[in-house]
Every structure is written in structure tokens, then in C-alpha cells.
């Protein structure tokens, strides 16, 4: 009982601490202290780091989706709907969520390890000692970059996913190319796209925030860097999964 109590207290305390960390970052943004050159440096790093694996995953997902849905839809005599099913699945759900998973594994891990190493080597304290706000110099650029990069990657993922589906649909299932393209384009409504796209901003914020926070909290040398990095990835993974359910519920309630 006592153990459980302490555990819950600890959880609440660290959640509060993480929240203050985020508010601190928001404060920097509100004061207009955004270092755009750092932001763009991070945009480049984060984008380059995850683009290949996202391309691969998306194409494969689109292809598998087309293969499976062709089989299933054939049973209902609705195999013409393959294109719609592929693009709607990707745009509404799969691309935003899968891309976020990959993003947390690559970019989130990188941020946590990088900042964690800086923390244990006193580089973050040294930043303060030199009269520079580490939030402004290190954290805000990484968070803003993620907010720019992840949504971009998601759109990229959707395009490649559709292409993967197209390859299967046209060359394997024998759907005429023009039909497939036509159906894809007319299947996606404004709401379909944005119901998925809007979520990516939350995921980007969540992943970068947790990674930066865990990095800044790191202690205990190289062992600590490993531990906090793993924790950052696991935590952002869990939170993406959970917030996805909540966000999807809200978005469906609003837009249907």
C-alpha cells in the first residue's frame, strides 16, 4: 500500500516536473527567442535521419494493405474498393501513427541520447555558466523542428504508401491504372486527410518534449544515457498509442 502510494506520488511529481519543463520551453517561444538557424539545422538532421526508413515502411505498408484488402474485398465482391481502402487507412490512421513510432525510435532516441550525453558531461550546465539559456539553445529548436518535420514525413509517408498500394493494385490485382488513380483521388475528403494530419502535431510535440526532458534529467554516466534514452522511447511510444485513441475519439466526434 505504502509502496503504491509512493509510486503514484512519484509519478505525479515527475509529470508535474515534465509539465514545467514544457512551460519553460513555451515561455522561450512566447518571448520570441527562437533560434531559426538552430531550428533549420535540426529540421535537416531529423528529416534525413528518418526519411529512408519511413519511405520503406510506408511503401511496404501500402503494398501489404493492398494485398490483404484485395483478398478480403473479393469475398464481398467489392474488389474495386481496394484503392479507397488503402488510401483511407493510410491517411486517416496508419501513416500518422506508424511514422510517429519510427520518429520516436529514431529522432526521439537521438535527442534523448544527445542531450543526455551533454548533461552527464556538464555541457548543459556549461551552457548556463556561459550565460546562455539551454532551453533556448538546445530544447526549443529540437521541439520546433519536430513540429515541422513529422507532419512533413507523414504526408511523404502517405504518398509512398499509396504508391505501394498502386503497384500491387495495378500490377498484381489487375486494376486499371487510371481507375486506381481516379478512385484514390476521389476517395480522400478534406476531413479524411486532416483527421489524420492534425494528430501528427500532437505526436511530434509529445515525442520531442519527452526526449528533451529525459535527456535533461539524465544522470549516471554512459549507463544513465542508455537508461534515459530507452525510457524516452518507451514513454513516447506508450503516450502516442494512448493519446491516439483519445484524439481519434475527439476528432471523430467533431468531424465524423
Amino acid at each position: 500500500m505504502n509502496f503504491l502510494f509512493n509510486y503514484v506520488i512519484g509519478l505525479v511529481a515527475s509529470a508535474g516536473e515534465a509539465l514545467f519543463f514544457l512551460l519553460d520551453a513555451v515561455g522561450v517561444v512566447l518571448r520570441g527567442k527562437i533560434r531559426w538557424s538552430e531550428v533549420f539545422k535540426q529540421v535537416y538532421i531529423q528529416g534525413v535521419q528518418s526519411i529512408v526508413i519511413i519511405a520503406l515502411t510506408s511503401m511496404a505498408t501500402g503494398a501489404v494493405l493492398a494485398l490483404q484488402s484485395y483478398v478480403m474485398l473479393s469475398r464481398f465482391g467489392a474488389k474495386e474498393a481496394v484503392a479507397q481502402l488503402v488510401v483511407l487507412s493510410l491517411v486517416r490512421e496508419l501513416s500518422p501513427v506508424f511514422s510517429s513510432f519510427i520518429f520516436s525510435g529514431k529522432v526521439g532516441a537521438r535527442i534523448a541520447a544527445e542531450l543526455g550525453t551533454m548533461k552527464v558531461n556538464d555541457q548543459i550546465t556549461a551552457t548556463r555558466a556561459m550565460g546562455v539559456d539551454p532551453m533556448e539553445f538546445l530544447v526549443v529548436p529540437r521541439i520546433l523542428a519536430s513540429l515541422l518535420v513529422l507532419p512533413g514525413l507523414v504526408v511523404f509517408s502517405e504518398i509512398l504508401g499509396v504508391w505501394g498500394g498502386y503497384l500491387i493494385g495495378v500490377y498484381n490485382a489487375g486494376i486499371p491504372s487510371s481507375t486506381y488513380v481516379h478512385q484514390t483521388i476521389y476517395a480522400v475528403g478534406f476531413v479524411d486527410f486532416f483527421s489524420g494530419f492534425a494528430k501528427t502535431f500532437f505526436f511530434a510535440l509529445l515525442i520531442a518534449w519527452i526526449a528533451c526532458y529525459q535527456g535533461f534529467k539524465t544522470s549516471g554516466g554512459s549507463l544513465g544515457v542508455g537508461q534515459y534514452t530507452t525510457k524516452a522511447v518507451a514513454l513516447s511510444y506508450i503516450l502516442v498509442v494512448v493519446t491516439n485513441v483519445v484524439l481519434t475519439k475527439i476528432i471523430l466526434a467533431l468531424w465524423g
Partner: protein
């Protein structure tokens, strides 16, 4: 210049600073000596506002920095230098970029002026050939020299050095201490060094304070401390 008044600091159940009380005069080189774990680093970090005391104060040029907000402290720290034990150079920047960083952050100096100033200081610390290298490509001694260059590039009024000789062989230890001495005199900056390197401390210090279990147990010029009859001091200095 710096007045440390009745400083107390506790981490968890461990009281690290137990009423530390001393003063540093302008231009003075003061060395804080003490066994490892005696609280030297913690004390030094209080003196630049990286840690906040539970009670007591640190007054620098008539300003109590222990009460300032972090945003105000950032400004105060601009003209102070801090040499970290491990150097704490940014590992994603070259030596040149590391040393130029404070100038680029806090001054509007032109590119060429920055370059000249950085190259001059690198020459002074004997690293003019290493300006394009990354910290990971440098030896421990070179990292400390580069970090020292970064700490004084703003012509700091006050320089703090945490264990400048740790991890260095006796010859390198001697040369970095001499370098700190040279630079401190040249820039006329008030210098506070934490060290357990007694030999070199006695050589370059104007004054020494001895910290033990979180309090100052002795202070004076190197000669005064050397000739003291106190048993602990005798053990420590001879």
C-alpha cells in the same frame, strides 16, 4: 569582490555546505583546497549561481546573486568564466567554434574580429594548431586548455576553475596551473580555483582556504598555511 556568507546546502539527508564563510578580494587568486567530496565543486557552483543555497548568500560586486532569477543570472554570468572539471566543451563544435561561442552569443563583434580574438587566445593556451579539431580528438590536457580559453574569451572579470589539474600528469598539471596564473594576471581577473593539488596550489595562490566537511577550517597565504602548527594542516600541506 566576492563575499560568501554563511552558506548552507543540503542534498537529501547529506549536508554538503555547513556555514561556509569567506571573502575574495579583487584580482586575487584564491585556491579552495580540500579532500575529494568535501564540497569544493558544490561551493564553486554556488558562487556562479548554478546551485542555490538553502540559506546564506553569495555577494558579487554588491549584488546578492543567490536571490536572482535564472534569467538575471544568465546576464550576470556573461562576464564570468567557469572551467569545468571535464572541460564540458560542446562535442558537436570544433575547438574554434567552442571558444568563439560566447563571443557570438553575447557580442556584436565582426567575423574577423572574432577570428583574431579566438586565434590570439588559442595561441596563448598553446592550441593554435588544433583550432579545427573536435574535442574528442584532443587529449585531456588539451581539452582543459581549450575550455580555459573559452572561459576567459569574454575578458571575464571573474574566473572559476574546478579541478583544473585532475586527470593530468604532474608536468601537464604544473603547466595548466601556470597558464591559469598567467592568464589571471594578464586579464587582472579575480580567480577562484578548487583543487586537491596542493603542490601547484601553494605555488600559484595568493591565498588558500581549506574546506573540510563543508566548512572552512583554515585560510591564509601559502606561507602562513605551510608554517601552521595545526595537525590536520600539517598532514595536508606537507
Amino acid at each position: 569582490m566576492i563575499k560568501v556568507k554563511k552558506l548552507f546546502k543540503t542534498f537529501g539527508s547529506q549536508t554538503v555546505l555547513h556555514g561556509v564563510d569567506f571573502e575574495i578580494k579583487p584580482g586575487e587568486i584564491l585556491v579552495i583546497v580540500g579532500e575529494s567530496g568535501s564540497g569544493k565543486s558544490v561551493l564553486l557552483q554556488h558562487m556562479i549561481g548554478l546551485l542555490r543555497p538553502d540559506s546564506g548568500s553569495v555577494v558579487i560586486a554588491d549584488q546578492d546573486i543567490s536571490r536572482l532569477s535564472e534569467q538575471k543570472l544568465l546576464k550576470v554570468r556573461k562576464d564570468m568564466g567557469y572551467l569545468f572539471q571535464g572541460g564540458a566543451l560542446y562535442d558537436f563544435m570544433t575547438v574554434f567554434e567552442n571558444v568563439a561561442f560566447p563571443l557570438r552569443e553575447h557580442t556584436r563583434m565582426k567575423r574577423n574580429a572574432v577570428m583574431t580574438k579566438v586565434q590570439d587566445i588559442l595561441k596563448l593556451v598553446g592550441l593554435d594548431a588544433a583550432e579545427g579539431k573536435f574535442p574528442s580528438q584532443l587529449s585531456g590536457g588539451m581539452q582543459k586548455r581549450a575550455a580555459l580559453a573559452r572561459a576567459v574569451i569574454m575578458d571575464s572579470r571573474i574566473l572559476f576553475c574546478d579541478e583544473p589539474t585532475s586527470g593530468l600528469d604532474p608536468i601537464k598539471s604544473r603547466s595548466i596551473m601556470d597558464l591559469i596564473h598567467t592568464i589571471a594576471r594578464k586579464l587582472k581577473c579575480t580567480t577562484v580555483i578548487a583543487s586537491h593539488d596542493i603542490v601547484n596550489s601553494l605555488r600559484i595562490a595568493d591565498r588558500i582556504v581549506l574546506i573540510r566537511q563543508g566548512t572552512i577550517v583554515a585560510q591564509g597565504t601559502p606561507d602562513q598555511l605551510r608554517s601552521s602548527q595545526d595537525a590536520y594542516l600539517q598532514e595536508f600541506f606537507n
